[in-house]
Symmetry: C2
Subunit: 141 residues, 2 copies
Protein backbone atom coordinates (compact mmCIF):
# COMPACT_ATOMS: atom_id res chain seq x y z
CA UNK A 1 0.00 0.00 0.00
CA UNK A 2 1.28 3.45 -0.81
CA UNK A 3 1.35 5.94 2.09
CA UNK A 4 -0.59 9.18 1.89
CA UNK A 5 1.26 12.35 0.98
CA UNK A 6 1.78 15.35 3.22
CA UNK A 7 2.28 18.91 1.97
CA UNK A 8 4.81 21.01 3.92
CA UNK A 9 5.64 24.70 3.77
CA UNK A 10 9.33 25.62 3.37
CA UNK A 11 10.95 28.32 5.46
CA UNK A 12 12.84 31.10 3.70
CA UNK A 13 16.35 29.61 4.06
CA UNK A 14 15.12 26.34 2.55
CA UNK A 15 13.50 28.23 -0.35
CA UNK A 16 16.79 30.03 -0.96
CA UNK A 17 18.75 26.76 -0.83
CA UNK A 18 16.53 25.27 -3.56
CA UNK A 19 16.76 28.47 -5.63
CA UNK A 20 20.55 28.33 -5.38
CA UNK A 21 20.74 24.71 -6.52
CA UNK A 22 18.98 24.98 -9.90
CA UNK A 23 19.96 26.60 -13.21
CA UNK A 24 16.62 26.66 -15.10
CA UNK A 25 13.44 28.29 -13.82
CA UNK A 26 10.20 29.57 -15.29
CA UNK A 27 9.06 33.16 -15.49
CA UNK A 28 5.38 34.02 -15.59
CA UNK A 29 4.87 37.44 -17.17
CA UNK A 30 1.88 39.45 -18.31
CA UNK A 31 1.57 40.32 -21.99
CA UNK A 32 -1.47 42.47 -22.77
CA UNK A 33 -3.02 41.31 -19.51
CA UNK A 34 -2.55 37.60 -20.21
CA UNK A 35 -0.12 35.28 -18.43
CA UNK A 36 2.74 33.64 -20.36
CA UNK A 37 5.35 31.20 -19.04
CA UNK A 38 8.93 31.27 -20.35
CA UNK A 39 11.78 29.03 -19.16
CA UNK A 40 15.01 30.91 -18.37
CA UNK A 41 18.51 30.19 -17.20
CA UNK A 42 19.18 32.14 -14.04
CA UNK A 43 21.44 32.76 -11.09
CA UNK A 44 20.18 33.39 -7.55
CA UNK A 45 21.52 35.59 -4.81
CA UNK A 46 19.39 34.56 -1.85
CA UNK A 47 15.90 34.95 -3.31
CA UNK A 48 16.95 37.63 -5.82
CA UNK A 49 16.88 36.17 -9.34
CA UNK A 50 19.12 37.34 -12.19
CA UNK A 51 18.60 36.35 -15.83
CA UNK A 52 19.47 37.56 -19.32
CA UNK A 53 17.17 38.45 -22.20
CA UNK A 54 17.58 39.50 -25.81
CA UNK A 55 15.78 42.32 -27.62
CA UNK A 56 12.74 41.11 -29.53
CA UNK A 57 11.70 38.42 -27.03
CA UNK A 58 8.52 38.46 -24.94
CA UNK A 59 10.65 39.33 -21.90
CA UNK A 60 10.57 43.09 -22.39
CA UNK A 61 10.69 45.73 -19.71
CA UNK A 62 6.90 46.07 -19.81
CA UNK A 63 6.18 42.36 -19.47
CA UNK A 64 8.66 42.06 -16.60
CA UNK A 65 7.07 44.67 -14.36
CA UNK A 66 5.19 42.07 -12.30
CA UNK A 67 6.54 38.56 -12.49
CA UNK A 68 6.49 35.19 -10.80
CA UNK A 69 9.55 32.96 -11.01
CA UNK A 70 9.38 29.27 -10.19
CA UNK A 71 11.71 26.29 -9.80
CA UNK A 72 10.60 22.77 -8.97
CA UNK A 73 11.54 19.12 -8.95
CA UNK A 74 9.46 15.94 -9.04
CA UNK A 75 9.85 12.25 -8.39
CA UNK A 76 7.28 10.61 -10.61
CA UNK A 77 7.87 7.15 -9.14
CA UNK A 78 7.19 8.24 -5.55
CA UNK A 79 4.72 10.95 -6.62
CA UNK A 80 6.51 13.55 -4.51
CA UNK A 81 8.08 16.89 -5.34
CA UNK A 82 8.84 20.45 -4.36
CA UNK A 83 8.44 23.95 -5.77
CA UNK A 84 9.63 27.43 -4.87
CA UNK A 85 8.00 30.59 -6.22
CA UNK A 86 9.40 34.13 -6.08
CA UNK A 87 7.03 36.95 -6.87
CA UNK A 88 8.31 40.43 -7.47
CA UNK A 89 9.26 43.21 -9.81
CA UNK A 90 11.51 42.75 -12.83
CA UNK A 91 14.18 45.42 -13.19
CA UNK A 92 16.61 45.97 -16.04
CA UNK A 93 20.01 46.42 -14.35
CA UNK A 94 22.04 46.40 -17.56
CA UNK A 95 24.66 49.12 -17.20
CA UNK A 96 23.43 50.21 -13.75
CA UNK A 97 26.32 51.42 -11.62
CA UNK A 98 24.82 51.37 -8.11
CA UNK A 99 26.64 48.96 -5.77
CA UNK A 100 23.80 46.39 -5.58
CA UNK A 101 23.41 46.22 -9.37
CA UNK A 102 27.17 45.95 -9.85
CA UNK A 103 27.25 43.08 -7.38
CA UNK A 104 24.41 41.25 -9.18
CA UNK A 105 26.04 41.88 -12.57
CA UNK A 106 28.95 39.71 -11.43
CA UNK A 107 26.75 36.62 -10.98
CA UNK A 108 27.32 34.11 -13.77
CA UNK A 109 24.17 33.27 -15.76
CA UNK A 110 24.94 30.34 -18.05
CA UNK A 111 22.59 30.94 -21.00
CA UNK A 112 21.97 27.77 -23.00
CA UNK A 113 19.95 29.39 -25.81
CA UNK A 114 21.77 30.90 -28.79
CA UNK A 115 22.03 34.60 -29.55
CA UNK A 116 23.24 37.68 -27.81
CA UNK A 117 21.33 38.14 -24.55
CA UNK A 118 22.80 41.42 -23.45
CA UNK A 119 19.99 42.68 -21.21
CA UNK A 120 20.41 41.74 -17.58
CA UNK A 121 17.25 41.62 -15.44
CA UNK A 122 16.71 40.98 -11.79
CA UNK A 123 13.58 39.93 -9.92
CA UNK A 124 13.46 41.83 -6.64
CA UNK A 125 11.35 39.54 -4.43
CA UNK A 126 8.21 40.77 -2.70
CA UNK A 127 7.09 37.23 -1.69
CA UNK A 128 8.96 33.92 -1.52
CA UNK A 129 7.03 30.69 -0.97
CA UNK A 130 8.00 27.05 -1.13
CA UNK A 131 6.27 23.75 -0.58
CA UNK A 132 7.27 20.13 -0.68
CA UNK A 133 5.18 17.03 -0.94
CA UNK A 134 6.47 13.89 0.74
CA UNK A 135 5.13 10.49 1.69
CA UNK A 136 3.79 10.29 5.25
CA UNK A 137 5.57 6.97 5.75
CA UNK A 138 7.66 4.53 3.75
CA UNK A 139 5.87 2.59 1.05
CA UNK A 140 5.41 -1.05 2.02
CA UNK A 141 7.11 -3.29 -0.54
CA UNK B 1 34.72 22.40 -27.81
CA UNK B 2 30.98 22.39 -27.18
CA UNK B 3 28.76 22.95 -30.22
CA UNK B 4 26.44 25.94 -30.35
CA UNK B 5 22.77 25.44 -29.56
CA UNK B 6 19.89 25.89 -31.99
CA UNK B 7 16.34 26.81 -30.95
CA UNK B 8 13.56 25.10 -32.92
CA UNK B 9 9.82 25.69 -33.00
CA UNK B 10 7.59 22.65 -32.48
CA UNK B 11 4.58 21.99 -34.69
CA UNK B 12 1.20 21.38 -33.02
CA UNK B 13 1.30 17.54 -33.12
CA UNK B 14 4.72 17.58 -31.45
CA UNK B 15 3.44 19.98 -28.76
CA UNK B 16 0.52 17.63 -28.12
CA UNK B 17 2.83 14.60 -27.93
CA UNK B 18 4.91 16.31 -25.21
CA UNK B 19 1.76 17.40 -23.35
CA UNK B 20 0.52 13.82 -23.42
CA UNK B 21 3.74 12.39 -22.03
CA UNK B 22 3.97 14.36 -18.76
CA UNK B 23 1.96 14.27 -15.53
CA UNK B 24 3.05 17.52 -13.80
CA UNK B 25 2.79 20.98 -15.33
CA UNK B 26 2.73 24.56 -14.11
CA UNK B 27 -0.20 26.93 -14.20
CA UNK B 28 0.36 30.68 -14.35
CA UNK B 29 -2.69 32.51 -13.02
CA UNK B 30 -3.52 36.11 -12.16
CA UNK B 31 -4.38 36.96 -8.57
CA UNK B 32 -5.29 40.61 -8.08
CA UNK B 33 -3.48 41.41 -11.32
CA UNK B 34 -0.24 39.66 -10.34
CA UNK B 35 1.10 36.44 -11.84
CA UNK B 36 1.48 33.32 -9.68
CA UNK B 37 2.84 29.90 -10.70
CA UNK B 38 1.38 26.70 -9.24
CA UNK B 39 2.46 23.16 -10.13
CA UNK B 40 -0.43 20.80 -10.92
CA UNK B 41 -1.01 17.20 -11.87
CA UNK B 42 -2.93 17.10 -15.12
CA UNK B 43 -4.20 15.03 -17.99
CA UNK B 44 -4.14 16.18 -21.62
CA UNK B 45 -6.58 15.56 -24.43
CA UNK B 46 -4.69 16.94 -27.42
CA UNK B 47 -3.83 20.42 -26.15
CA UNK B 48 -6.81 20.61 -23.78
CA UNK B 49 -5.61 20.38 -20.19
CA UNK B 50 -7.64 18.92 -17.32
CA UNK B 51 -6.70 19.29 -13.65
CA UNK B 52 -8.32 19.16 -10.19
CA UNK B 53 -8.42 21.82 -7.50
CA UNK B 54 -9.70 22.08 -3.96
CA UNK B 55 -11.74 24.92 -2.43
CA UNK B 56 -9.57 27.44 -0.59
CA UNK B 57 -6.58 27.23 -2.93
CA UNK B 58 -5.35 30.04 -5.19
CA UNK B 59 -6.82 28.17 -8.16
CA UNK B 60 -10.30 29.65 -7.93
CA UNK B 61 -12.67 30.32 -10.79
CA UNK B 62 -11.58 33.99 -10.87
CA UNK B 63 -7.85 33.27 -11.00
CA UNK B 64 -8.36 30.66 -13.71
CA UNK B 65 -10.09 32.94 -16.19
CA UNK B 66 -6.90 33.58 -18.18
CA UNK B 67 -4.15 31.05 -17.68
CA UNK B 68 -0.92 29.76 -19.14
CA UNK B 69 0.02 26.11 -18.64
CA UNK B 70 3.55 24.86 -19.21
CA UNK B 71 5.47 21.58 -19.29
CA UNK B 72 9.18 21.26 -19.93
CA UNK B 73 12.22 19.05 -19.67
CA UNK B 74 15.93 19.82 -19.45
CA UNK B 75 19.24 18.05 -19.83
CA UNK B 76 21.61 20.00 -17.64
CA UNK B 77 24.68 18.09 -18.83
CA UNK B 78 24.09 18.87 -22.51
CA UNK B 79 22.42 22.22 -21.74
CA UNK B 80 19.46 21.38 -23.93
CA UNK B 81 15.73 21.21 -23.26
CA UNK B 82 12.20 21.75 -24.46
CA UNK B 83 9.04 23.48 -23.31
CA UNK B 84 5.40 23.60 -24.39
CA UNK B 85 3.01 26.34 -23.32
CA UNK B 86 -0.78 26.33 -23.64
CA UNK B 87 -2.56 29.63 -23.15
CA UNK B 88 -6.30 29.76 -22.73
CA UNK B 89 -9.34 30.05 -20.55
CA UNK B 90 -9.88 28.02 -17.41
CA UNK B 91 -13.36 26.53 -17.10
CA UNK B 92 -14.91 24.66 -14.18
CA UNK B 93 -16.50 21.58 -15.74
CA UNK B 94 -17.40 19.89 -12.43
CA UNK B 95 -20.86 18.45 -12.86
CA UNK B 96 -21.28 19.75 -16.43
CA UNK B 97 -23.36 17.38 -18.52
CA UNK B 98 -22.60 18.51 -22.07
CA UNK B 99 -20.93 15.77 -24.15
CA UNK B 100 -17.50 17.46 -24.32
CA UNK B 101 -17.37 18.01 -20.52
CA UNK B 102 -18.53 14.46 -19.86
CA UNK B 103 -15.77 13.16 -22.14
CA UNK B 104 -13.12 15.26 -20.34
CA UNK B 105 -14.45 14.20 -16.92
CA UNK B 106 -13.46 10.63 -17.79
CA UNK B 107 -9.75 11.50 -18.12
CA UNK B 108 -7.77 10.24 -15.14
CA UNK B 109 -5.92 12.99 -13.26
CA UNK B 110 -3.58 11.35 -10.73
CA UNK B 111 -3.40 13.96 -7.94
CA UNK B 112 -0.32 13.49 -5.76
CA UNK B 113 -1.19 16.15 -3.17
CA UNK B 114 -3.41 15.22 -0.22
CA UNK B 115 -6.98 16.39 0.30
CA UNK B 116 -10.21 16.28 -1.59
CA UNK B 117 -9.77 18.02 -4.94
CA UNK B 118 -13.30 17.79 -6.19
CA UNK B 119 -13.35 20.70 -8.63
CA UNK B 120 -12.46 19.71 -12.19
CA UNK B 121 -11.10 22.44 -14.45
CA UNK B 122 -10.12 22.46 -18.07
CA UNK B 123 -7.90 24.86 -20.01
CA UNK B 124 -9.46 25.43 -23.41
CA UNK B 125 -6.47 26.41 -25.56
CA UNK B 126 -6.35 29.66 -27.51
CA UNK B 127 -2.62 29.33 -28.32
CA UNK B 128 -0.22 26.37 -28.20
CA UNK B 129 3.51 26.94 -28.61
CA UNK B 130 6.53 24.72 -28.16
CA UNK B 131 10.26 25.07 -28.56
CA UNK B 132 13.25 22.82 -28.18
CA UNK B 133 16.89 23.64 -27.80
CA UNK B 134 19.40 21.18 -29.20
CA UNK B 135 23.10 21.09 -29.97
CA UNK B 136 23.97 22.00 -33.57
CA UNK B 137 26.47 19.11 -33.70
CA UNK B 138 27.93 16.51 -31.37
CA UNK B 139 30.25 17.72 -28.67
CA UNK B 140 33.90 16.89 -29.42
CA UNK B 141 35.38 14.82 -26.60
Amino acid sequence: MTAATVLHTMDRPTCEAFLGAEVVGRLAVLIEGEPHIVPVNYAADGATIVFRTAPGTVLTEASLRKVAFEVDGFDEHHQTGWSVCVRGMGQDITGCVDPESRRLQKLFVDCWAPGNRDRLFTVVPTAVTGRYLRRAERTAV
